[in-house]
Symmetry: C2
Subunit: 202 residues, 2 copies
DNA sequence: TAGATTGTTAATCGATTAACAATC
DNA sequence: TAGATTGTTAATCGATTAACAATC
């Protein structure tokens, strides 16, 4: 099992490998890939080893094969359908980012309880009442949700998502929700991170 | 010197302490604050120790004094003026998040090179050509910037920001920019983090 | 072979957890 | 005093770095 940091770096490598393919570069050394992604060459080698891809000392790594290998590692990522819960400032911001962008990740629906926000299209995404979430999750086999509700509803909404079968949550609220061990939660508290930068900018 | 993780957690504690103040709760134990912020009681104690605040075994920590102490730790954070560089999808998303929200953090200006985007107001924030950045940074003593330009411009723009005196960068691009040691960079690659969640949701 | 890069193991580093004496 | 919480030290854990033999 790869560590969280390795998974994160593999996602980075993949992006740069795609660029290398477009530049018709067919092989790459660990230190080259490392330089692109800001990681030491040894770290790159260890990460690639952990997904079972092996290079060779004379040519390094074959870009296309390695890319396929990482794609395989992430498997269903490409066709992933995710939902957004909470259409506030941050929710709308994410919608415009993911619907307007050329990202491979699709937010298939957004949910809220506010009547003025539901049953219409917001930033290119259909918005529904949170009661309809269950149907969507079942029908589209959604496993991942973006949580962007007000802080006070974070815990209860997260618990609801778990009951409906969600396995991974990207949590944009400041609350560290407590859930079963088998649910993966990635905390993305933008304000907190920004305060960190402000602290170190002094 | 506190570790990065301690700084991050202090930012969290502060938010919950503000809530406690509004609830007129005047003292708090480490395990209570820990439960709110999803941190062990021992960790909370160690973090608070590291900012020099000391509680007592019978009443725990005084909420107001502790809050003042953490505010002091973050010092100039409150009145912080920051700028945004790059008014693409993510840039606009951040603008709407920070200008519409009741955040204490102000994005005082946004910069781009695209003529269709500059010299007008976007999501409540004035947008200027990147050439005018120097004046703004000097005049408003800006030390922190949000970097949200296309990946290929990430490194060069980051270097420009350093030359103009920026000390901390919140980096929303997928590129790990290489800068002088004394510049703090916080990487916030949303797509990468989302792919991580997708991976663990399988 | 010589040179550079690879996979792999040992050493280092830092942060978290566990344990406990000191304190109100 | 008894009980709970505090500050503090030692043990644990995991990831990174350094070192090196194996390989093309």
């Amino acid at each position: 099992m790869s560590s969280q940091k390795t998974v994160a770096r593999l996602s980075l490598y993949r992006r740069f490998l795609k660029i290398l393919v477009s530049e018709e570069k067919y092989s790459v050394f660990s230190h080259e890939l490392g330089k692109l992604s800001g990681v030491t060459a040894a770290q790159v080698r260890r990460d690639l080893m952990s997904v079972g891809y092996t290079g060779n000392p004379s040519h390094g790594y074959k870009v296309i094969d390695l890319l396929n290998c990482i794609d395989e590692f992430f498997k269903s990522t490409e066709s992933a359908n995710i939902i957004l819960v909470g259409i506030g400032n941050i929710g709308r911001a994410l919608l415009s980012y993911f619907t307007q962008g050329k990202s491979s990740i699709n937010i298939i629906a957004a949910f809220d309880t506010d009547k003025t926000k539901i049953n219409r299209v917001i930033n290119g995404c259909h918005a529904y009442h949170i009661n309809e979430m269950s149907n969507f999750i079942n029908e589209y086999k959604v496993k991942t949700a973006v949580l962007a509700v007000p802080a006070i509803y974070a815990q209860s909404t997260a618990e609801l998502l778990c009951e409906l079968g969600i396995k991974g949550i990207m949590n944009f609220t400041p609350v560290r929700v407590k859930l079963n061990e088998d649910i993966y939660v990635e905390d993305m508290d933008i304000t907190m991170h920004l305060e960190k930068v402000l602290y170190y900018s002094k």
